[in-house]
Amino acid sequence: MSVYIIRRLLSTIGVLLGVSLLVFLMLHLTPGDPVAIMIGTEGMADPQMVANLRRELGLDRPLYAQYWLFLRRAAVGDLGRSIRTNEQVRVEVMARFPATAELAVAALVLSTLIGVTAGVTSAVRQYSLLDHASMVGAMLGASIPVFWLGLMLILLFAVRFPLLPVSGRGAPFTEAMALLFQGDASTLLRALRHLVLPAVCLGLSRAAVVARLTRSSMLEVLRQEYVRTARAKGLREQAVVYRHALRNALIPIVTIVGLQFGFLLGGAVIAEVVFSWPGVGRLAVDSILARDYPVVQGCVLLVAAIFVVLNLSVDLLYGWLNPRIRYQ
């Protein structure tokens, strides 16, 4: 098992190399010029100044040389500096990551809770009113665009009925927890209140996917012979559904939930813009618009690394859920 884990972790390096090359090429081959954007339309740039800027930023060198430089630096943990702000990329990306992680975890928990509950209920009461209602709900949830849902949530719960804040991040969670242990709950409360709307917005669409998957997976398992046996030996329905059926139906759900987290990290972009959430997604968008190559590179690498680690964790979870699975 440990050999398996080490092998998987080593292959991560290959994946990250591939991702970095792909992102590098995509960024540099799409039209757009960071220097032109920096100067904008209201700067009277003389050609000499433009050339100077490009040289200072190393943008006049051939692509392979730029990529090689990037690799050499990345190997020692230096992701370079932002073209726009001149700040270290590692510092910028890591400063933004906790916010995105908070939002993604909250959305994940929410979507799993709602999704699994709705899916199990639908499966157990197949073709009931509840089943139809939750599946229609799931279809709506999956089709509503996140930005529209976000604005509607804001208008309803923050402007029309001012129960929750419109946007922004209340406080970093780690800070809020530290304060909680010192007896100050107000910061945590503020952090939670700010988290509700974006997490619901992001979580609902994902819950839809989980709900549909749980339903079909449960339906399949509920028809298995061992479920009938469990019922026949007089087990309570709750025990049949949760201990026997749900656990076996969980494998595809765990897969999708694991991958969901990756999607949530990426999909948080829109929610982050609508709710002014200071996460990595917005940093990536801002940097793409400004053609700030090093920062985009840093954001993508971080998300890719997390994706790979999550995949590995999901694979390891299978073994716990189904002891017949072996790792080699």
Binding site: P31, A45, D46, N52, R96, A99, V166, R190, Q238
Partner: protein, 513 residues
């Protein structure tokens, strides 16, 4: 089963209720009455004034630093760090500094800091995209602790207008020299507010400078929240989460004006929205075709559909706010007969096909679509080439286009800024004259405006230059869009001058309840 679901829902509802209840009780961390919260649509790129030239950064610099001179509400140049100044030769100026002005760390602002700051701005190694403001500067000589001499490469009349622009802010030389990165993270200036904290993508906090030489501000703190989405910003304003928004969408104005707790400010701006025609290429190398295209456009209708009618139809690149604006020139009316006749005279009786390069920004695309429909009625068939902003700029720099949208502002409010950059033949290329317009008479007049020290002579030169340009029709001037801001009513005595929100004055403001 159902009961379990119901129970779960109930627990969740109670939990949400508990969290939401915080809204009803006053949050302990709520800002005090003396804090002003504003929404800004983007992060400032840098707190170091010599590192960028974007709007949000300029707005921060305006609070944190001082320039040598400033503008008052009437638009007149007034002393700031420089107490007085004098043009002592054709291209030499002397500035005498106000004594006893302190940076936020307690050190005094001296002539050394001025020399360091201005020379740092134009040093290529600094990489400032605003270096163009002082390309005319050769060197700064320190005459005494409180006196500097600016030696220019050539005479430059609008120098003072450039020296009130924020990238020329004066920074503490010793500190920046020692650690420029640390300085950009914890900036120190001499302005009315000190840097407090910054969480990128979230908020900036500025703290009152009680020792400000111009009088201590009343606000204890300024909180600037980064809210990228305009719809969210407006919602924040209505809910009271922020007290000011500077990017109110034009279509929201009518609705917000009905809200009694808000003051919506629709103010004239120094901006121009136009179409640039490439003078080097057919068909627009022919003046008749350029004029025909200009007659094809209904400026008022375009303004109505793109900017909800907020603005003024234009007859020149200089808006009425700008020194040198020619109010004798009238915006061209729409005249399809005239347009078709001119086209026929130019040999395009059967109509003509051409292409428009458009920035991929929503407002620009809309503008392009509206004008495209109007052109079609005059027999000009325009296909739109919507291009990523940075890529489009490169094409424009290189002159690789036939017709193109442009949005530009005269931030210094002085005619030279736009006339030289947009219409002088020396500026052909990246500097701004993308349409490659060249007329020796206009060049001469623009140089008079640039070098002559007499405002009356300067104004005459710009009036004449604009007449000639209107006649040559290298651009289709469309309109000067208004700027739209909204403040909550409790905000008092906060003023936004014609140069824009960047120059918002927060030193006298306060909140009334």
């Amino acid at each position: 089963m159902t009961r379990t679901v119901l129970r779960t829902c109930l627990v969740a509802a109670v939990a949400i209720g508990f969290v939401a209840q915080g809204a009803l009780s006053p949050a302990p961390a709520a800002p005090a009455r003396t804090a002003l919260t504003l929404a800004l649509f983007a992060d400032p790129v840098s707190f170091d004034p010599h590192r960028s030239n974007d709007g949000p950064s300029n707005m921060m610099w305006h609070q944190l630093y001082n320039t040598l001179v400033d503008r008052n509400e009437k638009g007149e140049i007034v002393p700031a760090l420089a107490e007085k100044w004098q043009r002592i030769g054709d291209g030499t100026w002397r500035f005498t500094l106000r004594q006893g002005v302190k940076f936020h760390d307690g050190t005094e602002v001296t002539a050394d800091d001025v020399k360091f700051s201005l020379e740092r701005l134009i040093n290529p190694a600094t990489r400032s995209p605003a270096a163009f403001l002082l390309t005319v500067l050769d060197r700064v000589e320190v005459e005494s602790r409180y006196q500097v001499r600016l030696v220019l490469k050539n005479p430059f009349a609008p120098l003072l207008f450039h020296l009130m622009h924020k990238p020329t802010s004066i920074v503490p030389a010793a500190l920046v020299r020692a650690n420029p990165d640390e300085f950009a993270r914890r900036p120190i200036g001499s302005g009315p507010f000190k840097f407090g904290s910054y969480v990128r993508g979230d908020r900036i906090e500025l703290v009152r400078n009680p020792d400000y030489w111009g009088g201590a501000p009343k606000f204890e703190r300024i909180i600037v929240r980064i809210v990228p989405d305009a719809a969210t910003a407006v919602a924040e304003l209505e809910a009271g989460g922020v007290a000011g928004v500077f990017n109110v969408p034009a279509h929201e104005v009518a609705r917000l004006q009905r809200n009694r707790s808000l003051a919506v400010l629709v103010v004239p701006s120094h901006r121009i929205t136009a179409l640039v025609l490439n003078m080097d290429r057919p068909p627009f190398n022919d003046r008749k075709v350029r004029l025909a295209a200009s007659y094809a456009i209904d400026r008022r209708a375009t303004l109505n559909s793109v900017e909800a009618g907020l603005g003024l139809p234009a007859s020149s690149a200089l808006s009425p706010l700008v020194f040198g604006h020619n109010d004798k020139l009238q915006p061209l009316p729409r005249d399809l007969t005239r347009a078709k006749q001119l086209l026929a005279e130019a040999g395009y009786a059967g109509g003509l096909k051409t292409e428009m390069l458009v920035w991929n920004l929503p407002a620009q695309v809309k503008l392009a679509e509206v004008t495209q429909a109007q052109f079609r009625e005059a027999g000009i068939d325009v296909s739109l080439k919507v291009t990523e902003f940075g890529a489009a700029l490169r094409e424009q720099y290189a002159g690789n286009f036939t017709m193109s949208t442009i949005a530009w502002g005269t931030v210094t409010l002085d005619g030279d800024y736009s006339m030289y950059a947009l219409f002088h033949s020396d500026s052909i290329g990246p500097a701004g004259n993308w349409g490659r317009y060249s007329n020796p008479d206009v060049d001469r007049l623009i140089m008079t405006g640039r070098t002559n020290g007499n405002p009356v002579v300067r104004r005459q030169a710009y009036l004449k230059a604009q007449e000639i340009i209107a006649n040559d029709a290298p651009w289709i001037f469309l309109y000067h869009p208004s700027a739209v801001y909204a403040l909550r009513n409790e905000v008092k005595d906060v003023t936004i001058p014609p140069q824009g929100y960047v120059f918002i004055n927060l030193t006298k403001g306060y909140l009334s309840r």
